[in-house]
């Protein structure tokens, strides 16, 4: 069974903290993605990766960075968390062309 696992369901962090969101997939997919979802704004792509050590900016990369040291793991880093980064974060992985992306369970991050 397809599995994308995010390290936390709920997270509360303080402004200015460095925050790591981890995502692991067991499907040997090349592509991995980080989205954030906000009411009224839908899902917006933050960063994606086509391969180990490869990363590309999505639509809203400011304030975020990513790391992909191993194929199965894609980490999202908030360098200095701010309250406007309070959101639901969704990790996804996808295989080759014609394979849809599969999503993790989401991490609801609150920055206070």
């Amino acid at each position: 069974d397809v599995k994308v696992t995010q390290s936390s369901r709920y997270l509360v962090k303080r402004t200015g903290e460095k925050v790591f969101l981890e995502c692991v997939q067991d499907m040997d997919h090349e592509n991995m993605f980080w989205y954030r979802q906000d009411p009224g704004l839908g899902l917006r792509l933050i960063y994606f990766s086509y391969d180990v050590k490869m990363k590309e900016k999505g639509d809203i990369p400011e304030g975020y960075s990513v790391s992909r040291e191993k194929k199965e793991r894609f980490s999202l880093i908030l360098e200095s968390a701010s309250t406007n980064q309070t959101s639901m974060y969704l990790c996804a992985s996808g295989g080759t062309i014609n394979t849809e992306a599969f999503f993790g369970q989401g991490t609801r991050l609150t920055v206070v």
């Binding site: 969704l90 394979t99 369970q105």
Partner: protein, 111 residues
């Protein structure tokens, strides 16, 4: 600019009725995906439409794709309460799988 537009944004319908959700996209993608999201949960894949004219059905849901019109539809037949959810379409953008999502349609089925 890449754009995926869904309508309606909100849909409240009675059980037993039929309705269609529309998804217009701006690229020349020949594929489109549909997802379902329950409140507080993540996205679940519903349909993968891989070519012009593709039609897929699962239970009371049927999705179709017209790449010439850049339009996909999600048709609900004889709605039941457990179909209440938010439905998203997503354009994979020329096959690089960088999904651009529609705004979502929040569907509420009323008994």
């Amino acid at each position: 600019e890449l754009k995926v537009e869904q309508n309606p944004l909100f849909l409240s319908m009675q059980e037993g009725k039929n309705y269609t959700i529309y998804c217009n996209y701006s690229t020349t993608s020949d594929r489109l995906y549909w997802y379902r999201q329950d409140p507080g949960k993540s996205l679940e894949s519903l349909f993968v439409l891989l070519s012009n004219g593709a039609v897929k059905q699962e239970g009371r849901l049927m999705a179709s794709l017209d790449t010439k019109a850049r339009l996909s539809t999600l048709h609900i037949t004889a709605a039941v309460h457990d179909l209440s959810a938010t439905y998203f379409c997503a354009d994979p953008n020329f096959g690089n799988e960088k999904l651009t999502f529609g705004t979502g349609t929040r569907l509420t089925i009323i008994p």
